[in-house]
């Protein structure tokens, strides 16, 4: 029990802090019909973080990352505020939608020219709430608290513009300046929330609880209470679910927020008794799943992961299911976990399927880089299908200048292979996989 609280307590508190501020902002976002804004801002913030990582080699939670992210978020805030006033032919939502596509493409572009890309993608989307630290929580409380105070002091002008933009323009309000402030504050919240929670969970906290509350009442105070209640409940259900069944935390929390909305919608739109019945079935199923699930493994807060930089956390999180779930295809004929490099090498020799072989190579790279590099070369020598090839080259995680479109024998790749051999001294004794 204590272990439970220790493991899930902090992530839960972080979720509560997020729902407190994001839920309130969500009510504004809904009435302004700019649902996309947070995904777009989150994506822009992620571009800042990835850019900082590539340009300066800094890790996830450094000051430079936040500065780069914030700078981009402020730029976006200025752009949105101006576009709302100046671009009249298409809706604000369309402008935001296009800016999202551009930001996401920039992120993938940067990732694509950097090694180990898919780890970043997964992290950017799914986040790493489970690895939140006390520092993260403190940061959340301070930043969200400051933004919350700004919003409560300035609530009248913000609400005026949220409700009736054209009226505010007619009354001579400086809407561009107010809008800039609104988007900038939103950007600040999202910068910090996305670093911890990932894009999906932040979006879910922003939109879903606010939508649930709108189903029941129009009164701002009551809406806030419902919003916060729904957010907290969703966080709790999602955390327990992810922990017991070994899923990513962020998507699980978002999933249960979605379930809440579905039930609330059913309640209001059809009959309460039907919604009640469905709710009972869902909760019984949920409890049964939690009870029946095998006890979780591998993830422990006392591990060095507590303060480790996110990309490493994700690597752990990504390989954890593979390690814990000794799938039949990975271990033909045996149900044991293959952990040492020599075992992996032996398994590699026995396996014909290129996909499984790729997974073995990636595992070997985690366990013992020298052995992994050797297996990777042996694998690439066989010219496996393009996508598998790409996976292994990404997994090597070094700027080898490998041309994935060319076969292994091409001169550019022969040179890259030679560089890899020299780096890991693969020709020197003893053989790396022993």
């Amino acid at each position: 029990m204590l272990h439970f609280v220790e493991l899930l307590g902090l992530p839960f508190l972080v979720c509560v802090a997020m729902t407190a501020v994001l839920g309130y902002l969500g009510i504004h976002v809904l009435s302004r019909e700019i649902v996309f804004v947070d995904i777009a801002l989150a994506q822009i913030v992620a571009v800042g973080a990835i850019g900082a990582h590539l340009a300066f080699g800094v890790e996830g939670h450094s000051l430079l990352t936040y500065v780069a992210s914030l700078a981009l978020a402020l730029g976006a805030a200025a752009f949105y505020a101006l576009a709302r006033r100046k671009v009249l032919q298409i809706s604000q939502e369309a402008v935001i939608g296009v800016s999202y596509a551009i930001a996401a493409a920039t992120a993938l572009f940067l990732i694509g020219i950097a090694p180990g890309g898919h780890v970043h993608t997964q992290h950017m989307l799914a986040g790493s709430i489970l690895w939140a630290s006390w520092t993260d929580l403190l940061l959340c409380v301070v930043v969200f608290g400051a933004v919350g105070i700004c919003f409560s002091v300035l609530r009248h002008p913000f609400q005026r513009i949220s409700r009736d933009y054209d009226g505010a323009v007619r009354d001579g309000m400086k809407v561009v300046a107010w809008d800039f402030l609104f988007y900038a504050l939103l950007g600040v919240v999202i910068t910090f929330a996305v670093r911890i929670g990932g894009v999906v969970v932040v979006f879910a906290f922003l939109i879903i609880p606010a939508t649930v509350s709108a189903l029941f009442t129009g009164h701002v105070g009551k809406r806030l209470l419902i919003t916060w209640g729904a957010g907290t409940l969703g966080a709790l259900l999602g955390l327990l679910f992810a922990h017991r069944l070994d899923f990513s935390v962020g998507p699980a929390v978002a999933l249960f927020l979605g379930v809440e909305l579905a039930l609330a919608g059913l309640w209001r739109r059809s009959s309460p008794s039907l919604a009640g019945a469905v709710a009972v079935v869902v909760s019984v199923g949920y409890v049964a799943l939690l009870v029946a699930a095998p006890s979780p493994h591998g993830v422990s807060r006392s591990a060095p992961g507590v303060s480790a930089p996110p990309p490493t956390d994700v690597a752990t999180a990504e390989t954890a299911p593979a390690a814990s779930d000794p799938s039949a295809e990975l271990l033909p004929g045996s149900n044991e976990r293959v952990t040492t490099a020599s075992e992996l090498a032996a398994l590699f020799e026995r396996t014909p399927d290129p996909e499984t072989r790729r997974d073995i190579v990636l595992r070997a790279l985690d366990v013992e880089p020298r052995c992994g590099a050797q297996l990777a070369l042996r694998y690439l020598q066989g010219d496996p299908p393009l996508f598998f090839r790409q996976g292994v080259i990404d997994g090597l995680g070094e700027p080898l200048d490998w041309d994935v479109m060319q076969p292994f024998a091409a001169s550019v790749n022969a040179e890259a292979a030679e560089r890899l051999r020299e780096k890991h001294r693969l020709d020197a004794l003893p053989p790396p996989c022993q």
Partner: protein, 269 residues
Amino acid sequence: MSESIHFFAVQITLLAIVLVLHTYLGLHVIRRTLIFSDLVLDQLAAFGALVGIGLAIRYGSPGSYLMSLAAVLLGALLLAVLNPRNPMIPREAIIGVLYAMALVASLLMGDKLSGGGAYVTKTLAGSMLWVSWPIVGVTAAVYVVLLIFHFVYRRQFIALAEGTGRPRQEKLWDFLFFTTQGVITVLIVPVAGVLLAYAFLMIPAAIAAMFTKRWGLGVLVGWGLGLAACLIGLSLSYFHDLPYGPTLILSLGAFFAAALVVRVAVPQS
């Protein structure tokens, strides 16, 4: 050399075909502010393919397309049916939630597939480099059929978009609209990826919508500018070895930014 000519011929043919219908549907989506709807369908197509991988159906095989199609039809149904009457909840919010759920489902699937993270990235980024003549042929055939369908029934769809004289059985036409969008999504997402498919739909149409309110002219402007942007992106990607999808989107984005600047500098009378 002939290989690169062949590569460009296939690519350009596909792009030219794809952009016609995408621009037209994009104009609808922008007029109706259903921006997210395409992302929902794209993400569901990707989710269907991921489920297929979970069931050992190879990515890009006919079975995988069927899985995507099933997921997308479900999405089209939900998009058409879920239309909140509550004025405090914009329709876009419901669409946004559907998108989040589709993405969440994909990520949770990715957790349980070996190498799942790589697949999630792949469905986002796509790999248009795999385009071949058979794919172009199938895509072209389906697109032509859909174009004829949309041309014949253009009045109903345009009435939905402009809110004038709503057609009877509004939900049915909505469903048909989202289904068209879904079918082209299923065809395009495995090759282009979620983001590029979304960009094809949104960006040329957004550019066109800033300059004209007429439908025919809008499609022409969007198609022309979109194709020009894609050609630039394609060449950059090919000759400088840059990531395919992102480069095309950034090129489209540059055109959009230029259009914004023009529009702000020269306000419409």
